[in-house]
């Protein structure tokens, strides 16, 4: 199956935040210098204060998830986001559990204080799309505003953002992922080995700016060449779905998979049989950010895109990014030089 519409989609900005660093440059430094002594520790943003990164009014009542979105988005936008509302600028946010800790807290307050006394200003934080809403309000983006959910949500969000640009639904799209993990979720993760991956839980947010052309004052870092997704249900063999995704991504891009030198993966690494049947070279280098960010779930794919786009300024070869959780949506994306 070939894309009906395949115009270019450029990445013209990127910002990220994780316990191991702020911004792609710092993340790259930490990743390059990572040592085994960091291994196995939680990668949570304790005492996170957005004022450390961002001078912006209206952040006080936001949840940690929304605040992290704002910090990463502001970094992607650069130093001078316009206060005017841009009706053709869109937002796509991917998250798996972004509002669940707020939901737990709201539920508890309703029990302890009584449903007639619970603070109504906390209710918006319960709703899943609130993080995208705040990005729209605070940055004046009045175009499409989408929140999608899942372990691969960040990478899928960037893919859907690219589709918005391809279809002409938006002129600029802020797309990425966010994940925070509060005490209840952390306890839940500890009780249920959910992902089949031994990386410690982490928190993070990353956004990239997608545009149909290099912007006059936002040089292009990379191009989204293609992306694809599939789904693996629990207790289903994932290999076939993953092979199909990689083959589909390469087919859509028109690029020979044999020239891919680097794969950034999150979740499970593509198995050797998947690499082989997907046409990847035996010498392909498999890299992951999990070593420095922990398992940031929906943010993982977006963190990888932000870093890969940043590095592509020096390293001009295409990079394949995969987010393959043990079950659920599986997403792969191919980035190329601008």
């Amino acid at each position: 199956m070939k894309d009906a519409v395949v115009p270019s989609v450029f990445i013209v900005g990127g910002g990220c935040l994780a316990a191991s660093g702020y911004g792609p440059a710092q993340l790259e430094r930490v990743w390059t210098d990572s040592s085994s002594s960091l291994f196995g520790k939680l990668r949570l943003l304790h005492d996170f204060d957005p004022a450390q990164y961002l001078t912006m009014k209206g952040l006080r009542s936001l949840s940690q998830t929304s605040r992290m979105c704002c910090v990463a988005a502001a970094a992607a936008l650069g130093p001078a986001p316009s206060p005017d509302t841009h009706h053709r600028y869109g937002v796509v946010v991917g998250t798996q559990w972004g509002s669940l800790e707020s939901l737990v807290d709201f539920n508890r307050r309703a029990f302890t204080e009584g449903p007639h006394l619970v603070n109504p200003s906390q209710f918006p934080n319960v709703i899943g799309n609130v993080h995208g809403s705040y990005l729209g309000i605070l940055f004046g983006f009045g175009g499409p505003n989408i929140t999608l959910c899942g372990r691969a949500g960040g990478l899928e969000a960037i893919g859907q953002g690219a589709d918005l640009v391809s279809l002409g639904r938006a002129d600029l799209v802020l797309a990425g992922g966010v994940e925070t993990i509060g005490p209840t979720l952390l306890r839940g993760v500890a009780k249920e080995e959910h992902d089949g991956v031994q990386w410690p839980p982490g928190e993070g947010a990353a956004f990239v700016l997608l545009s149909p052309q290099p912007h006059p004052y936002r040089p292009a870092q990379a191009q989204v060449l293609s992306w694809s997704q599939s789904t693996v249900h629990q207790e289903q063999n994932a290999e076939a779905a993953r092979v199909t995704i990689i083959q589909d991504v390469m087919k859509r891009s028109g690029i020979d998979p044999g020239i891919i030198r680097t794969v950034w993966y999150a979740g499970e690494p593509p198995e050797s049989v998947v690499q082989r049947r997907g046409g990847l070279s035996p010498g392909v280098i498999m890299q992951t950010l999990h070593t420095v960010t922990g398992n940031c779930r929906a943010a993982d794919g977006a963190l990888a895109v932000a870093l890969a786009a940043f590095r592509m300024a020096q390293n001009k070869s295409p990079v394949l990014i995969t987010v393959f959780p043990s079950y659920g949506s599986q997403v792969a994306m191919l980035l190329g030089p601008a």
Binding site: M1, V5, A110, P124, G128, N145, Q160, L185, Q229
Partner: protein
């Protein structure tokens, strides 16, 4: 032909589970006769709330239809029931089910898990909570469980788009077909009756005391509801090749964000207007091509006024296209609502009757428009615009065309 293009997405199956009917026939009959689903809330104690009404699907009404498997949450269960109807109607070949994609929208996900935690356990703190249940509460689990229960193996996308979630899912499914990324999808919205949502809307002063009265001068809020509605979408070429019955064309899709306030709509409906304009542009239609607007029309003072203000601007005062809200009967099923209204739109196209705004009393100058009060209206319907306006200022509009426009096209 306007509203038709290559790989035009068409609807070949629809299903619904709602407080006023758990299939399309019962739902349409209720819309035509004014049968309301509003009643006293039964699923939890409302004695400490200032309002006590809701639109619930009777518990137990569905359990005999459960598919054997790992227990899903109620939102996925409702979506599965609606999906079964839609798939049966579409009569897709068995060998394509493994590639049918799922796009689903929800507001609360599976909040049922958390809401089932006993009060003592919640107050006692994290140590006492079955926290692992929370991992199955997200919207993504709704999509995954629904697809699994329906036996669908294609890509699953789950949207958290509050009260516009159904339209987001349907619009995205249409885009996937246009882009050549999928050949068959099931798309819609679902939400189960939620105590957390009820609490939140109650504290925001958004719940009606006695009834939902969209656009009426005496409206005082929404009535929280629940339900699910799903559509089967495929390309026109695919539907024609297998001689499938086409119920509607998905002619246009538009999205916007108010970028104004987290809970209040833009008072002039600026975001709603942009969403409608984007959908019209997508469909290559003008406002005059629209024969009926299925309004979001929740019955809140600010929301209804903003939507009418947007529609007034769209038409510039030269025409009052009929617009109605079905929420007086169904309540507001949050993420399911716009998908349920999509079913109403498609049934309206096929019956050539506009479902009215029931419970309409006196005209409010802020909502002065032809809202088709209290009586179904036969009308020639070719293009229907379905609005959805969500918490956070998210707006989504889908335009459905009568299947006849394809016959004219071919």
């Amino acid at each position: 032909m306007k509203g038709v293009r290559a790989r035009t997405p068409v609807v070949t199956g629809l299903g619904i589970v709602s407080p006023i009917g758990s299939d399309c026939t019962a739902y349409w009959h209720a819309l035509m006769t004014g049968t309301s689903g509003v009643g006293l809330v039964r699923s939890f104690d409302t004695s400490r709330y200032s309002t006590h009404i809701g639109c619930e699907i009777p518990r137990g009404d569905y359990s005999d239809r459960l598919i054997v498997g790992r227990l899903p949450g109620r939102a996925a269960l409702l979506a599965t029931m609606a999906g079964q109807q839609a798939l049966a109607q579409a009569d897709l070949p068995q060998d394509v089910l493994s590639s049918v994609g799922t796009c689903i929208g929800t507001t609360m996900g599976e909040a049922c898990w958390l809401e089932s935690w006993p009060e003592q356990q919640v107050i006692a703190g994290d140590d006492a909570l079955p926290a692992e249940e929370l991992l199955r509460s997200g919207p993504d689990q709704v999509g995954l469980d629904t697809a699994r229960l329906l036996g669908l193996g294609g890509p699953v996308t789950s949207y958290a788009a509050a009260c516009a979630a159904g339209n987001y899912a349907i619009g995205r499914a249409a885009d996937l077909i246009r882009l050549g990324r999928a050949d068959w999808l099931i798309a819609g919205g679902t939400d189960a009756f939620s105590r957390v949502a009820y609490t939140g809307f109650a504290r925001l002063g958004a719940l009606a005391k006695e009834a939902c009265r969209p656009f009426s001068a005496d409206r005082d809020g929404l009535v929280l509801g629940e339900g699910a509605a799903m559509l089967v979408l495929e390309s026109l070429e695919s539907a024609q090749a297998r001689a499938a019955t086409i119920y509607a064309v998905v002619s246009g899709f538009g999205l916007s964000c108010d970028a104004f306030h987290i809970v209040s709509p833009h008072p002039e409906g600026a975001g709603v207007l942009r969403s409608m304009q984007a959908a019209l542009k997508d469909a290559d239609l003008s406002p005059d091509d629209i024969d009926y607007i299925c309004a979001h029309g929740t019955g809140t003072v600010a929301g209804d006024a903003a939507e009418v203000a947007a529609v007034r601007q769209l038409y510039g005062g030269h025409r009052a296209v009929p617009m109605s809200s079905v929420k007086a009967l169904t309540g507001h099923a949050l993420g399911a609502s716009s998908a349920m209204e999509a079913v109403a739109c498609i049934l309206a196209l096929n019956h050539q009757i506009i479902p009215p705004t029931w419970n309409f009393g006196a005209t409010d100058s802020a909502c002065a428009w032809d809202v088709v009060p209290n009586k179904p209206r036969p009308a020639p319907l070719r293009m229907i615009l379905n609005n959805a306006n969500a918490f956070g200022g998210h707006n989504a509009t889908v335009i459905f065309g009568h299947p006849q426009i394809m016959a004219e096209h071919t």
